[in-house]
């Protein structure tokens, strides 16, 4: 009866499943920063450099963090059963790492073999993740959050399909579709469907839970992911039948997510917990960045806004959310997994990430909100941004590495008491 109702009491996957993806994402963040430092053609949206840095951030950084978060959240919060998560996560993690590296190389030198490896490995990583998680998500009774995750995973498949079609076109295989329209669709599905929709779905779950805030309005939470998904489908149709409408549809998608940013800021302001830690401020920073991104999109309807500026604010939205989640989740998981195994000396959350350490990272990251404004006009600021990005990701990496190190140390040397664990 319990299972028939779509319920599951699966507990968290082993901590290494999540950390593997998070550490990978941080390393790609550092790589993105290094590439940005040496770039000289980042203002040109059609340049290979722009393409390489964009995909380092979207695939190397964002996909890694988002896959790690999904491996953790789906079993624990949505009751989804993922079979053999350790094996699966290793395969997906390696396919994502090498697929991304081959894609970056392909963008750099155009070698056919790199494109082929990129398509095969990324195809596996993205489709396998999407297929396995969607299949399990279809079996459960949905909350607003899990429904959004389902739609964002479906969107991920579409992003991958359109991406692969574009790579085929680059290999000289005729695709009989307008390349620019394909690019627009790939971009809007990736940005609003995969990244923004997943952030929205996750926030439905964690904002109320971590900070004790009022819930998002019920009707809004129920229909928002679906409405965004339908808008993006409409975008595909308009690409084929009414290309002039694409611009309006994308603006509608921008505004829909802006509503979420405003609602999230309102919730954070209404939180019952008196303590304002760095993670709350990372969330707030992410939402403010999104609102500035929205303003640049609207301004772009009337004047020419440098694309780098618009893209930078979206990146701060996505990365700010990542920092907010990781600073909360990783210290908790280290404590949780050790405590659950009965270790007396499981390190507490502040021993993994002290409030001061997280705040320093927050202040560094916050400075980007101002500095990115000047990156379109000055190479110096572009390099300054890249240095701060590298330090920020290094701090995040180091915090997780320390957590993992402490975890292994306690496993080996910690005092443990035995108690009756339920058979999970």
């Amino acid at each position: 009866m319990f299972n028939n109702s779509g319920l599951s009491m699966e507990q968290a996957p082993p901590i290494k499943v999540v950390l593997r993806f998070f550490l990978t994402g941080s390393v790609f963040g550092i790589i993105a920063g290094i590439m940005l430092f040496f770039s000289n053609d980042i203002n040109n949206i059609y340049s290979a450099q722009t393409l390489i840095i964009t995909h380092t951030l979207t695939l190397g950084v964002m996909a890694s963090f988002m896959f790690g978060a999904l491996f953790q959240m789906l079993p624990v919060l949505a009751g989804v059963h993922i079979k053999a998560p350790v094996k699966l996560s290793i395969r997906i993690n390696y396919a994502l790492i090498f697929g991304t590296l081959f894609l970056l190389l392909a963008f750099y030198n155009g070698a056919v073999i790199n494109y082929i490896f990129a398509m095969a490995l990324l195809g596996f990583a993205l489709f396998a993740t999407s297929y396995i998680m969607v299949r399990q998500l279809l079996k459960i009774k949905h909350s607003a959050s899990s429904k959004g995750m389902l739609l964002s995973l479906l969107t991920l498949s579409l992003v991958a399909i359109f991406g692969i079609i574009m790579l085929l076109e680059r290999l000289g295989i005729p695709i009989w579709l307008n390349y620019l329209h394909l690019k627009e669709i790939h971009f809007s599905f990736g940005v609003f469907g995969w990244i923004a929709m997943l952030i929205i779905s996750v926030s439905f779950q964690v904002i109320e839970m971590f900070y004790v805030t009022p819930p998002y309005p019920k009707i809004y939470a129920k229909y928002m992911p679906l409405a965004l998904f339908l808008l993006l489908l409409l975008n595909i149709l308009s690409a084929f039948f009414a290309p002039k409408l694409m611009h309006f549809i994308q603006t509608a998608a921008v505004l829909a997510v802006a509503v979420h940013a405003v609602l999230t800021l309102m919730r954070l302001k209404q939180k019952k917990r008196a303590v304002t830690d760095a993670t709350i401020l990372f969330w707030a920073l992410a939402m403010v960045s999104y609102l500035i991104f929205t303003a640049t999109c609207i301004a772009n309807l009337f004047i020419t806004v440098p694309p780098l500026l618009t893209a930078s604010f979206f990146a701060l939205f996505a990365l700010g959310t990542v920092f907010a989640m990781v600073y909360k989740i990783v210290p908790f998981l280290v404590w949780f997994h050790l405590n659950a195994q009965g270790y007396f000396d499981a390190p507490m959350m502040h021993e993994i990430a002290s409030a001061k350490y997280a705040r320093i990272n927050l202040y560094l990251f916050s400075s980007l909100l101002i500095l990115v404004i000047f990156t379109s006009f000055s190479k110096f600021f572009c390099q300054l941004v890249s240095i701060i990005l590298i330090i920020s990701f290094f701090m995040l990496f180091y915090m997780m590495y320390r957590g993992w190190h402490k975890y292994l140390y306690v496993l080996k040397n910690g005092k443990k008491f035995e108690f009756n664990m339920p058979n999970l």
Binding site: M9, S143, M209, K272, A274, D277, N339
Partner: protein
């Protein structure tokens, strides 16, 4: 009244009491922290008792299983009880960092636990139990004392 309504209200009340204890600790007022923490711990432990003595047995009767979800929930209650002991110790030692760190872990643990109860166990009890059975169960829980 629905089972979920009654028990979810208690979760929210515990959240409010927790927030007060945490706010007092953040200010470094340990006398107030102790007072608020005791209120929070008492309310939470009473809620656990209601679930373990009244709600879970009823749920086990519905599902025909006593080693499934209710066992996990009881195990998580024990984890929370363990944290209460450590938090009380931190108050005695007037150690703000330790208390706030434990409070953070407790909050995530509790919210995760509450979410599972609210979305799964309570929802199922609402669907399956007759109105009379619900009334009777709620009355028994109201009469439970710590």
């Amino acid at each position: 009244m629905q089972i979920s309504q009654y028990l979810i209200n208690e979760h929210r009340e515990c959240d409010n009491l927790f927030a007060k204890a945490e706010a007092a600790a953040a200010k470094g007022d340990f006398a107030l922290t102790k007072e608020e923490f005791l209120k929070f711990a008492d309310e939470t432990l009473l809620h656990f008792k209601k679930e373990e003595e009244e709600f879970f047995p009823k749920f086990e009767e519905i599902t025909g299983s006593s080693d499934g979800p209710t066992m996990v929930m009881k195990y998580e209650h024990d984890q929370v009880r363990g944290l209460f002991g450590k938090m009380a110790q931190a108050i005695e030692n007037e150690n703000k960092d330790t208390f706030l760190s434990l409070a953070e872990s407790l909050m995530i643990l509790l919210q995760q636990h509450n979410m599972k109860e609210e979305q799964m166990l309570y929802a199922m009890a609402d669907r399956v139990l007759s109105p009379d059975a619900k009334e009777e169960l709620i009355q028994k829980m109201q009469e439970t004392k710590l």
